[in-house]
Subunit: 157 residues, 2 copies
């Protein structure tokens, strides 16, 4: 790679090396924790924003648009797959609604997370061939149900 | 769908209907704008966090891990595909570093955005068969370069 192109992106990524080396450092605990929490919240914000229009369609508050529904379902499925990586131990302390039980009761949390991913993937699959809102309601309800189940147990209200 | 399962997810999505109907409402401009900006920032936070470890590997600050690199590259590509949808007109006003030129100079912005998506997709493709860091450096540099080019032009420093 040329020096000039190297310079270009070295500047772009310099700020994230703290993140990249998270786990190696110990002195900057709270900064790492903040960054990890921010990342987690961003992942869930993206998921939430894509659930919104699907929820409006599934509850007949917005006309069903098959292409749009499919797009949102695909996005939820792919971003949901990132979610399990956003709960490093360090991120349990800080400005977060994540309950400590996520880390002390990890097996149950992991099970609920797996259920979310499975139902999100199933929703994406169903939405690929859905012709009407009735074709997606059950799969949408199942996916949205996994959000609520996990939030009720592992998130501060 | 049963009433009980309907109830379950109706509660989960109720809060997002404001977002889902954005564009129909006019009285709550700033709330819509805030939500749209928050969504955009979340999308870019997810992208940023996945660029980080790739940048560390590409600049030899972290050992190359092909599976991890591939995972991050795939995530950047899929979340980058959401980015074009996060610049609705309403989101130009508010707590954002997005410059007004994004909306007044839309053709150029769209071109840069398309370039980002193309380079991110190319990086994901290359990373699927990469055996060493040398196999990804050029594609990574090209993708990271599109971030910088667009930020220099369309983002407040």
């Amino acid at each position: 790679m040329s020096i000039s192109s190297r310079k270009k992106w070295t500047a772009a990524v310099a700020g994230v090396l703290v993140l990249a080396t998270a786990g190696m450092a110990s002195a900057q605990g709270s900064k790492e924790a903040e960054a990890a929490i921010k990342y987690r919240q961003a992942v869930y914000t993206v998921i939430f924003n894509n659930f919104g229009p699907m929820g409006a369609m599934a509850s007949d508050k917005m006309p069903f648009d098959a292409a749009r529904f499919r797009r949102h379902a695909g996005r939820v499925a792919s971003v949901a797959a990132i979610a399990p990586d956003t709960f490093p131990e360090i991120s349990k302390d800080g400005n977060t609604r994540a309950k400590p039980e996520i880390w002390t009761n990890k097996a149950e949390f992991d099970q609920m997370m797996a259920d979310f991913l499975n139902k999100a993937a199933a929703l994406a699959t169903v939405s690929r061939t859905a012709a009407s809102v009735d074709d997606v309601k059950a799969a949408f309800g199942a996916a949205a149900g996994t959000c609520k189940t996990c939030h009720d147990k592992f998130r501060v209200d």
